[in-house]
């Protein structure tokens, strides 16, 4: 691909990388070395982002949740509490990471390390700019789903290795939950892939750039289903059964302390950012924003969108109470799955209409947008009403009665005398 802009054009850091590759090829470096060096550069960049974002997110989450709870978040350490994540990290590192004696030592220590791997791998396929993709896989979307599905295994590893009856029960429950929510997620992403015709994330962003709109306008239902499914996959409120069922049956990381637990906590944050990034690139246009990326670097816009989605996730956490486990399963199988299937049906219909009759995009896409939005609204509202009918048997407010309607005990029985006025 020819370089259209000089290497110092920071609106797209891929320019610098391509320039470096060319320079290396000019001195006749073998192809493998060029590939490895450029890849290393990208990987270092991604890891830098992941590390920084973990630190920043701890601060962002705590301050935002504090604000939602009518209080300030941490504000003692550093201005506005900005050094709080550093303090947290230091505290966790100097804590003794206990390993129970009868726990499965190797698996116990390995679980928090291994759980980081899918989280970081997810960042490899994200398009940060027009030429800034670390690994432009043809099957990017499927790759992300595969990484998500390995999470359930590692959760089980952690729960089993703790040698704790309750950790194991919690882990089994979480596995059932994660597996159930993979299906609506896959189906919603299937709709996106069918609509855009490509599975690679940069391809989907290019589709949105080509047709000059965000996929959010065409696939609102897919966005809703994927967002809700991901909230559960991330073990966040309103589905944080894994960690907050610690009221009774402990979560899978109850026996972890010190930096091992710190890794689980960090992974939750990194996963949240990864999912926010996926939502941002699939539905919100990634680095493309109606031409704004001519002036503002695309990756900065992308990071902004990531944090907008992350704000949404924090908002869910601060506001909503928790589901019960069986209600959560019912939500996946009876609510999200039928809607995802209807969505796919509709998308297939639309794509067929578009291709068969060879219509122009400008005529057909606004119609699709309107139809999809109407259907999304109708489905979500209607199906929710149907599902919630059993909870609506009684009114939602208490009934006001002017006076007591229970007969008083007979006067003179006992000492129930009236108080002296």
């Amino acid at each position: 691909m020819p370089i259209l802009s000089p290497w110092y054009d920071f609106r797209d850091l891929g320019n610098a990388a391509a320039r470096l590759a060319d320079a290396l090829r000019d001195i006749d470096a073998p192809e493998g070395v060029v590939y490895a060096l450029v890849g290393l550069l990208g990987a270092v960049g991604v890891l830098l982002f992941v590390g920084l974002t973990t630190l920043v997110n701890i601060w962002v989450e705590r301050r935002l949740i504090g604000r939602m709870q009518v209080r300030r978040g941490p504000n003692r350490l550093g201005p506005f509490g900005l050094l709080q994540p550093v303090a947290d990290a230091i505290k966790l590192m100097q804590k003794e990471a206990l390993t129970p004696r009868l726990a499965d030592g190797l698996v116990f220590t390995l679980a928090p390390v291994v759980i980081f791997i899918p989280a970081i791998l997810a960042f490899a396929v994200l398009p940060w700019g027009e030429k800034m993709v670390l690994a432009d896989l043809n099957v990017g979307v499927l790759y992300l789903l595969a990484l998500g599905s390995t999470n359930s295994l590692i959760v089980f590893m952690a729960g089993y290795a703790s040698n704790n009856k309750y950790a194991l029960l919690g882990a089994m429950r979480v596995i059932a939950m994660l597996i159930s929510y993979e299906i609506p997620g896959v189906l919603s992403l299937l709709a996106v892939v069918a609509f855009t015709g490509t599975m690679s994330l940069s391809g989907i962003v290019d589709f949105q750039a080509n047709y000059w709109s965000w996929l959010l306008f065409f696939q609102p239902l897919a966005l809703v289903i994927f967002l809700l499914g991901s909230t559960v996959e991330l073990n966040r409120s309103p589905a944080d059964i894994a960690e907050a069922e610690s009221e009774i049956i402990a979560g899978y990381h109850i026996e972890y302390s010190g930096m091992k637990w710190g890794l689980f906590y960090a992974v939750e944050l990194v996963n949240s950012i990864a999912i926010s990034a996926v939502i941002a690139s699939l539905f919100l246009g990634g680095w493309w924003t109606f031409g704004l990326e001519e002036f503002v670097p695309g990756w900065l816009i992308f990071i902004g969108k990531i944090y907008a989605c992350y704000f949404l996730l924090i908002w869910f956490r601060g506001t909503l109470p928790r589901f019960r486990v069986d209600q959560l399963m019912a939500f996946a199988w009876k609510f999200l799955l039928p809607m995802a299937l209807v969505n796919i049906l509709l998308v297939a219909l639309e794509i067929t209409v578009w291709e068969e009759f060879d219509l122009s995009a400008g005529a057909v896409l606004p119609v699709f947008a309107v139809v999809n939005f109407a259907l999304a609204g109708a489905l979500v509202a209607g199906w929710a009403r149907v599902m919630a009918a059993q909870f609506e048997r009684f009114p939602r407010r208490a009934r006001l009665v002017p006076d007591i309607d229970v007969p008083l005990p007979a006067e003179g029985g006992g000492h129930a005398a009236r108080a002296a006025v």
Partner: protein, 158 residues
Amino acid sequence: MVIGFWALAGLTVGAAAMIIVVRNLLHAVLFLILSFVGIAGVYITLSADFVAVVQVLVYAGAIAVLMIFAVMLTPLSARDNAENVLQLPALVLSGLVITGVTFVALETDWRLAGRGEFDSTAEAIGEALVSPFVLPFEIASVLLVAAMIGAIVLVRED
């Protein structure tokens, strides 16, 4: 390229060997997962990106969980992967099989195809599934639905 293949092959075969060596049955399942991931890597060296990702998604994501649940349902006493009488005959038999397969592999006159252009495997597989192979595809789907319904019927508490 060749380094990649040998490393992945070593990982896969090593993990597979550890499955039968290790004592704890759950450790054996974990090594099985590792071998699945190794196979996914081998698929990638063959440029079959779709199959590799589906291997991770289906095998390491779902079938491994199935096996873990199966192992968890066995009583603790039966979870020992310990020595038993059949180890020597099994070793002999597998030795014979390996020798046979290696001999056949080395003696066959493989016709090496060039690297050549390949189109996006996902598209190719998708086309194949709905045009020439649509009937097996649909039959497999019906089979899966039957399995799901059977599972639900089995666990219903009535």
